[in-house]
Symmetry: C2
Subunit: 724 residues, 2 copies
């Protein structure tokens, strides 16, 4: 029996003599609710009493329902609620539907036009609702509907009074949803568009004819059913469609450069475009979030201003996902030909990880104007006269996960005068969840813009180190592909020097050259393979100098020298013998020499406190206990890696083979048959049925290793258990 | 002189005896406005008259300003406006700021608490505003501020009366913004958070102390300045920050399967998750858009239902951009080694285009459940038992542009019973702007799921055609890369069969195999090169059958036969001689034999009606006329390609060399020195200064060919002219 019914419930519908209200009353009456059919009762000519409510009551009764008519005005709402209590002994549902119109252009609107509309719509709803509120609180149950209008939400010519009242109801509903929460009183707002003059001119006639209240009534009925537990929603419905509306807020902007500056009309103007930029607008669910958000933004602003006080900074965001990592890895020559590279190329690999040099990219914020701004008067820098000279990266924390978002600060720490050219030393600080996780430093040559009398060297610059004089301890050779630069460009650096033959020629190259960072990616991979067990998390820092260009298709020879935990390296071209990457080094946490596989470290025991999916595994455990035979028939051991920001933060074992148990961590005995890696959020979506496991898998959001077929066996189980 | 001033303006500020209102009055007074300082005038104890307004007036006067006090209640708003007219002869600015609080939990709220709050906030603003409205209309100038609160926007415990009144003001402002539009009356709403009990408990004390009205007043002052032309905004400000809030609406959902179905409470429930899904929520600017949106959705719904009535369909969206095209082209073997391929690999190439086979991808909607759903009882299909058998694509319109969005319909037209296996014939219809532009058809083998007594053949299936028996007219050979599948996966098909050695082995392959569509991409490119001048727009249709798997690294040999405008082809493996793509053909619009470059067709004369950027070029023309010497100093001819959806729809020539002219179309004589390709929207952003040309260029949004240096010369000119 799938029908939603209202047996035992008493519903009050105001303005139910006709139209929408009548449709609500009839529908609720047909589904078992006892209905108070309220209607104002004055006929249209203002003389005598209409019998509209009586007719609706009769129609409900004719269909076997129970209803009573009420002719009180909503501004005496307490009388309407009394009708319910007197006749049925309770009240559970209140639909504030009564309404009238007094449309006038604003100048012509009389005070009476204003007052009457406020009284019927806003005060009426206040009165009826307040009259029912005590009962609702006592019985810990209530369902309330407010009726608003698109004229309220968006404004409408000639309806100043009406749009004010209708938006007022939205405000009232918001507060009542909050006050009613702990008493199971749900307050929602409907925006019903029925056939009206408003729509008559715009809609095709057949559509206008079709705007029947019957198409809206089921929406309202659903929203007052006991199974409906949302509150504070604004739902628009007409013609068998429904949409939800809510407010979102821009990220906004500070209105001054630093906290000690005054806010002026001019500083407001200068920051306005950012204030009204709705690009990353967010939903605020509760008023308290406004304050929390404000405190965070103020702290950020103050911290940034402190930093900016030292060096003028540019702040940006950098987002990446597993596809970006794979694309980058191919761009720097990782290959399936080398089995230990598969973990950089296959997002479902059990050790899937970023290459360490990938994290140089967030610091290359292309929109950053810091170099241009740092130039002295008369000198300039733009992409036509700059060259990447040196690169440094240092990991201050673990290697970041396989997807995530960084906040990046870019600033010039020193501008050096090298005679004919200038060199900007650009630092990037890369934050994740407010923690500084990576530092990078670029030396940017600005050709022909030296000679301004600046310092020649900088204490802040991280220096290269000459490689040892002995012959190298290890050498790796790899050919770049003809399309290496075309491929590396997909990682974001679209400078045409790397693809456009004309631009390359104009810059004095026989053909487009490979990105310096692409060559460095090769070299770093070579060091990683020879001395770090090809394990990206082994890298602490890297420093490199770009000495000469590489043409795609040329062969790179990386020469390496091990000194303690530092691997010095340089890279030569096989074709010319030229050193293209010079005086470079990589610092490692652990040296793992060539051939030795990376120590199969257990990953740092994940210890996330509570995750959303915890409840899911508790339910699965209950399900297994309730139905052990069904569980045992699966006959396999599953390991779930639950991730946040692309990092496993918790593991769950589902042993449906022998132990029939669900517990945190890896399998206590033996090995998982199937390992699934999925984010906490995605797992909840899969369990809720809003994300199909198959889609999740094919889109790389659910990663499965081991026996895939067994994962399929689990799918239905997981889902049905989750719905217990 | 950059200061914004209010000389000659008369401002009325209600509730200006202290707090925010006082700050507004002082600031406006200090910037030249004549100010009516309204304050209710009863002291806090209700006895006697306060002199707060007098004190504020004195403070304004002491600083050399002009002001007058007014002690009327806002519910007699006409008297306050009269004060302005009597004293200063006009009124330009009205800031509705007066307010009080009567916080009570809803049950305890007295009718007086309710009425008083409505009267002061809502009715007061109505009264003052209406009193000023006639003057504003007559003089065609007015600036109005309503004051709302986060308690109104988000609800707040104990403020049912206040949140209703405050949200009512938002509704009033929306309608007045509309009614005032043609009279230059701007109506905006401020959400000022000053220090209050609300914030006292939550904020750090020093932050609470810092919540000064002075930090908010400049925001309000900016919003009532004559230079401020937005209307209907809701702006939140405190502590030197500001944000904008507005409503957005979900895409919503139909509440039934087809128009002839009834809407029931249950059908509402079943569609609810889509109704409230805010993922692609959109801003509605005007109430009329609600109706337009509705009409469109209804038409879509009806059309889809008609189609679904024939075959149950799955509808999806597919978005792509130039990066996707380049990634795909590399995935199917396009290479910079072949100069005529550069146009598939370089987004700024003057002939940048998609490969035709790229447009097979939208039909491969991975989330589509149509094949699984089409299986007869007892049979199933999922990614573990399906194989791509055949592929067809047909272009019904021009080749789509280099970025865009499609709406895609997927449905199974026939399910064939081939004995041991089933074959689902899946059609995809690909729409752009409601026009059907591409059809594709896949034959999907469902292994081991035949034998259900279905038909063996389908009239709807597009058949392959055997290749001619003679030896091929042309042959092209190309080796795939070892990492070809790893690279092709970036185009979206993440099936592990193509990367995971274990999965490949389990499926009986020695190692991961190449995607059939990747091999087909190679073959289609070969035909394109040999017979279509490597011009993707030359392709009408393509049909192919996948006969055997290819391993990455193997060499493909495409054999071709020309018959009229049809090129028959098959593809063999060099290593084994096996035919991997069989009985295939490509239909061309024009046959262009090997070696002959694609006829340098003029592109179909773009003929977009009006674009946003039209006004920009008009302004540039004015600028050139106003300052011909400056223009001539540039000394170059520029061609702008203005795009919509990645297609050039209009061209503009800026001749700053000899003719000094701006006109539509290509240069009338000679060739452009620099060609810039940019979307209409991006060009407007560049001109407005919100997008830096350099960033646009480096992100591939502004494409430049020819002399890049000359483009830089133009940048500042374009910008300054646009600001004229």
């Amino acid at each position: 029996m799938d029908q939603l019914n209202f047996a035992g419930r008493v519903a009050v519908v105001t303005g139910a003599g006709g139209g929408l209200g009548k449709a609500y009353a009839l529908l609720l009456g047909s589904r078992g609710a006892k209905v108070v059919v309220n209607d104002l009762g004055s006929a249209r000519d203002g003389v005598g009493k209409s019998k509209f409510a009586d007719l609706v009551v009769q129609e409900i009764k004719d269909k076997g329902g129970i209803a009573v008519a009420d002719y009180n005005s909503v501004v005496e709402g307490e009388k309407i609620i009394k009708t319910a209590l007197d006749n049925f002994g309770r009240v559970d549902i209140l639909i504030n539907n009564a309404g009238i119109l007094r449309d006038k252009s604003f100048q012509k609107m009389s005070e009476q036009d204003w007052d009457l509309i406020q009284a019927v719509h806003l005060k009426g709803a206040y009165k009826t609702t307040q009259a029912a509120w005590e009962t609702f609180k006592k019985q810990k149950y209530g369902r309330i509907i407010m009726t608003t209008s698109n004229a309220g939400l968006f404004g409408n010519f000639g309806q100043a009074n009406y749009s004010a009242a209708k938006m007022g109801l939205v405000g009232l509903a918001s507060t009542l949803a909050i006050e009613g929460a702990k008493y199971n009183i749900k307050v929602n707002t409907i925006v019903p568009t029925a056939a009206s003059r408003l729509t008559e001119d715009i809609l095709p006639p057949e559509m206008f004819q079709a705007m029947k209240p019957d198409l809206i009534a089921p929406v309202v009925a659903y929203m007052v059913h006991e199974s409906f537990t949302d509150s504070g929603l604004i739902i628009d419905s007409t013609l068998g469609f429904a949409t939800k509306t809510h407010l979102v807020r821009s990220q906004g902007a500070p209105l001054r450069k630093k906290p000690s500056d005054p806010v002026t009309i001019e500083s407001v103007r200068d920051n306005w475009s950012q204030v009204v930029n709705m690009e990353n607008a967010q939903r605020i669910e509760k008023i308290a979030e406004v304050t929390v958000d404000l405190v965070e933004k103020l702290q950020d602003f103050e911290e940034r201003c402190k930093l900016d006080g030292q060096n003028e900074s540019y702040w940006g965001k950098y987002k990446y996902n597993s596809k970006d990592l794979v694309c980058y890895a191919l761009g720097v020559g990782a290959s399936v030909v080398n089995p230990s590279d598969l973990k950089f190329l296959y997002e479902s690999h059990e050790s899937f990880s970023a290459l360490p040099t990938f994290f140089i990219l967030p610091g290359m914020l292309m929109e950053s104007p810091v170099v241009g701004k740092a130039m002295p008067p008369g000198k300039y820098a733009d992409f036509t006269n700059i060259l990447h000279g040196e690169q440094y990266i240092e990991f201050l924390s673990d290697l970041p996960g396989t997807e995530g978002e960084f906040t990046v600060r870019n600033y010039v720490v020193d501008l050096l005068d090298k005679g004919s050219s200038a060199v900007a030393v650009v630092n990037s600080e890369i934050y994740q969840n407010k923690e500084l996780v990576i530092r990078t430093q670029q030396h940017i040559f600005v050709l022909g813009q030296g000679g301004f009398g600046g310092p020649r060297n900088s204490k802040q610059a991280i220096a290269v180190e000459a490689v040892p004089k002995r012959s190298p301890d290890a050498v790796l050779e790899q050919r770049t592909a003809e399309d290496q630069a075309a491929l590396y460009r997909l990682s974001g650096d679209l400078n045409p020097l790397h693809i456009d033959p004309n631009v390359a020629t104009a810059s004095g190259h026989p053909r487009p050259i490979l990105h310096g960072l692409a060559s460095l990616g090769f070299s770093a991979r070579h060091v990683l393979m020879k001395y770090a067990g090809n394990d990206a998390s082994n890298v602490k820092a890297l420093k490199a100098r770009f000495a000469k260009p590489v043409l795609p298709g040329q062969t790179l020879i990386t020469e390496m020298w091990l000194e303690g935990k530092r691997v010095h390296f340089q890279t030569k071209l096989k074709e010319t013998g030229n050193i293209v990457i010079a005086s470079s080094y990589m610092d490692l946490k652990n040296v793992i020499k060539d051939g030795a596989p990376a120590s199969n470290q257990k990953m740092a025991a994940p210890s996330a406190s509570s995750l959303k999916s915890d409840s899911l595994f508790a339910k699965i455990e209950d399900g297994i206990k309730a139905n052990p035979d069904k569980a045992k028939s699966v006959g396999a051991v599953y390991l779930y890696n639950i991730t946040l920001n692309g990092k496993t933060v918790k593991q769950w074992t589902l042993d449906l083979k022998s132990a029939l148990a669900v517990y945190q961590g890896e399998p206590k005995s033996g090995k998982a048959d199937t390992t699934m890696t999925v984010s906490d959020d995605d797992l909840m979506e899969i369990a809720a049925g809003t994300l199909s496991p198959q889609v999740a898998y094919l889109k790389g959001r659910l990663k499965i290793s081991g026996n895939i077929m067994l994962a399929q066996k689990l799918g239905p189980l997981l889902k049905s258990e989750a719905k217990l």
